[in-house]
C-alpha cells in the first residue's frame, strides 16, 4: 500500500512543521516576557534608575489610569487619525505625481533634479516651515506625515511605470489605443503590486512624520506625550506612549499586509 505509506510521510512532515512553529513561538514569547521581567526586576533592585527608566508595572498602572479617565484615548485617537490621513494622502499624491511624470516625458526630465534633491533631503527638517505655513495644528502634522512618504512613493511608482514591458503597449497601440488607454489598461494595472508594496513602507514613514510633527507642535497626541513626559521627567508616560505607538504601528502594518494579500488575489 504505497498510498498509505506516502500519507504517513506527509503527516510526519506536517508534524515537523508544527513543532518548528511552536519552537519559534516559544522563543518569541520568552523574549517578550524576559524583556519585561528583566526590566521590572532591574527597576525594583535599582540596577537601573527607576526614576529614569520607569518599570512595566508603573507603565501598566499609568495606562489603566489614563485610559479610564479618558485622556489617553483622545491622545491615541488624534495620533491615529493624523497618521492614517498622512499615510493615505502621501501615498495617493505620490501615485498621482508618478502618473503625471509618466504622462509627459518632458515634465519628468524637468522635474528630475528637483525630485533627487527633495528625496535626498530629510523631510522632517521642513517641519518648522510647514508649521509656520499651515499653523500649529493637526493640518501641519498630517502634512508632515504625508510629505515624508510622497517623494519616495513618486519615485518608486514612476520607476515601476517605466519598467512595464513595452510590448504590452505595442499590443494596445496596434489596436489604435491612445496614450491614456495604454496607461489605464496596461501601465497602471501592471504596477498594482509595486504600489501595494510602497504602502507597507509608507506606514512606517507616516508614523515618523506624525510623531516628529507632534514633537514640534506639542499640543496633543502620543508624540506630544513623549515630549511632555520628557520635560516633566515622567518616564512612565514616555514609555506608555512608546508602547502604544508600537502596538498601533504593528496593527496598521498587519492591516496593510492583509490588504496587500487581498488586492493581489483580486487583481492578478
Amino acid at each position: 500500500m504505497p498510498i498509505k505509506e506516502d500519507s504517513h510521510i506527509f503527516e510526519k512532515h506536517q508534524q515537523r512543521l508544527k513543532r518548528e512553529k511552536r519552537v519559534v513561538m516559544g522563543w518569541q514569547v520568552f523574549i517578550l516576557v524576559g524583556f519585561f521581567g528583566l526590566w521590572e526586576l532591574a527597576s525594583r533592585e535599582n540596577w537601573i534608575d527607576p526614576l529614569l527608566f520607569s518599570s512595566p508595572s508603573k507603565v501598566y498602572n499609568l495606562l489603566i489610569q489614563k485610559f479610564s479617565d479618558g485622556s489617553m484615548i483622545s491622545h491615541t485617537f488624534v495620533t491615529l487619525f493624523e497618521t492614517l490621513l498622512g499615510f493615505i494622502i502621501g501615498t495617493l499624491l505620490g501615485i498621482v505625481l508618478a502618473s503625471l511624470l509618466w504622462s509627459s516625458s518632458r515634465f519628468s526630465k524637468i522635474a528630475d533634479p528637483y525630485l533627487v534633491i527633495l528625496n535626498a533631503m530629510p523631510k522632517v527638517a521642513l517641519g518648522p516651515i510647514i508649521i509656520v505655513a499651515l499653523g500649529p495644528g493637526y493640518i501641519s502634522i498630517i502634512a508632515m506625515g504625508a510629505i515624508i512618504s510622497v517623494i519616495i512613493t513618486t519615485i518608486v511608482v514612476y520607476t515601476g511605470f517605466r519598467e512595464v514591458d513595452p510590448n504590452y503597449e505595442k499590443v494596445l497601440l496596434s489596436f489604435g489605443a491612445t496614450r491614456w488607454q495604454c496607461f489605464k489598461s496596461a501601465v497602471f494595472p501592471a504596477n498594482l503590486p509595486v504600489m501595494i508594496s510602497t504602502l507597507k513602507v509608507n506606514v512606517g514613514l507616516s508614523w515618523v512624520g506624525v510623531i516628529v510633527g507632534e514633537f514640534l507642535v506639542s499640543k496633543e497626541g502620543l508624540g506630544y506625550l513623549i515630549v511632555y513626559g520628557f520635560q516633566v521627567f515622567d518616564f512612565s508616560l514616555v514609555m506608555s506612549a512608546l508602547i502604544l505607538i508600537a502596538i498601533f504601528a504593528a496593527i496598521m502594518y498587519k492591516v496593510v499586509e492583509r490588504l496587500e494579500k487581498w488586492l493581489i488575489k483580486h487583481t492578478t
Binding site: 499590443v171 496596434s174 498594482l192
Partner: protein, 258 residues
C-alpha cells in the same frame, strides 16, 4: 492591384552619440490575400518593417501605402502578433480577446459571441473565464491569435509568433494559422528566421541581409507548396530544393564567421 506597397523606405535608429541605418531603400508590394515572409538573420530590420507598417514607428524616408493611401491616413484595422503572447495576466481570457474591441469601444453581444466562436475554432473550449496563467504556452499563443483576429484586420503582421514555442506546438500552430488565414482570406506578413517555416507557410519569401537592412532576393514559392498545409509542405519534393536555394543565398550574404 497591390494592397500594401513600400517604396524606398529607409529607417534610422538614433542613440545619444550615434545612429544606425536599420533599413535602406526597401521596396516591395503585396497583393490582397497574399502571405509573404520576411526572412533574414537577426538585426536585419525585419521587425522594424512590421513596426513601420503597423504605424507604431515612423520611418525616416520613403512611402508606405495601404490601398494606395499613406499608412498614417489609413483606417484599416491591422492585426499584430508578437513573439510572445503578451496576454494581460490580470484579465480573463475573454477580456484579453476583447482587448481590441474594448479599446475601440465597440463591444457588443455579437463580438462576445464571435470571440467565443473563434476560441472554439482554435481548439480552446471553456477557457473564457480562466486567467492566462492557467494556460500552456501554445494555448496562450492561440488566444493571442484570436485577439488579433477579433477586430477583423485586413492585414496581419506576424512577428516570429512561433519562435518561443516548443517544436511540436510550433508545427501545430503553423497549420492552424495557415488554415485560418486562408479561410478568412487575410493578407499577412510573417517575420521569421526559420527557413522551413517561411517556405512551408508563405507564397513569397523576401530574403533580407543586414547592415544596413536591405532586400537581398525575393523567392517565389512553387504553387504546389503554397496550397499544401505547412506540415505537409515540408515533405514535398520541391521543398528541399527551395530550402537549398535560400540556404545558399543566406550564406552568400553572411560573412564566414562560423
Amino acid at each position: 492591384m497591390s494592397f500594401l506597397t513600400l517604396e524606398n523606405v529607409t529607417h534610422h535608429y538614433f542613440t545619444k552619440n550615434n545612429y544606425t541605418k536599420a533599413l535602406e531603400d526597401i521596396s516591395f508590394s503585396i497583393k490582397e490575400g497574399e502571405f509573404v515572409s520576411l526572412l533574414g538573420p537577426s538585426g536585419c530590420g525585419k521587425s522594424t518593417i512590421l513596426s513601420i507598417v503597423s504605424g507604431i514607428m515612423k520611418h525616416t524616408s520613403g512611402k508606405v501605402l495601404l490601398e494606395n493611401k499613406p499608412i498614417t491616413e489609413s483606417e484599416l484595422a491591422i492585426g499584430y502578433m508578437l513573439q510572445q503572447d503578451y496576454l494581460f495576466p490580470w484579465k480573463t481570457i475573454l477580456d484579453n480577446v476583447l482587448l481590441g474591441p474594448i479599446i475601440q469601444d465597440n463591444v457588443d453581444s455579437d463580438r462576445i459571441n464571435k470571440a467565443k466562436e473563434l476560441l472554439q475554432e482554435v481548439g480552446l473550449k471553456d477557457v473564457e473565464d480562466k486567467y492566462p496563467s492557467a494556460l500552456s504556452g501554445g494555448m496562450r499563443q492561440r488566444v493571442a491569435l484570436v485577439r488579433t483576429l477579433i477586430t477583423d484586420p485586413k492585414i496581419l503582421l506576424l512577428d516570429e509568433p512561433f519562435s518561443a514555442l516548443d517544436y511540436q506546438t510550433k508545427l501545430k500552430l503553423e497549420d492552424l494559422v495557415f488554415k485560418l488565414l486562408h479561410a478568412y482570406q487575410k493578407t499577412a506578413i510573417l517575420v521569421t528566421h526559420d527557413i522551413g517555416e517561411a517556405i512551408a507557410m508563405s507564397d513569397r519569401i523576401i530574403l533580407m541581409s543586414a547592415n544596413p537592412g536591405s532586400i537581398a532576393k525575393i523567392f517565389e514559392v512553387p504553387i504546389e507548396l503554397r496550397n499544401e498545409m505547412p506540415f505537409l509542405a515540408r515533405r514535398h519534393p520541391k521543398y528541399q530544393s527551395l530550402f537549398d536555394k535560400v540556404w545558399e543565398e543566406l550564406n552568400k550574404n553572411e560573412p564566414q564567421t562560423v
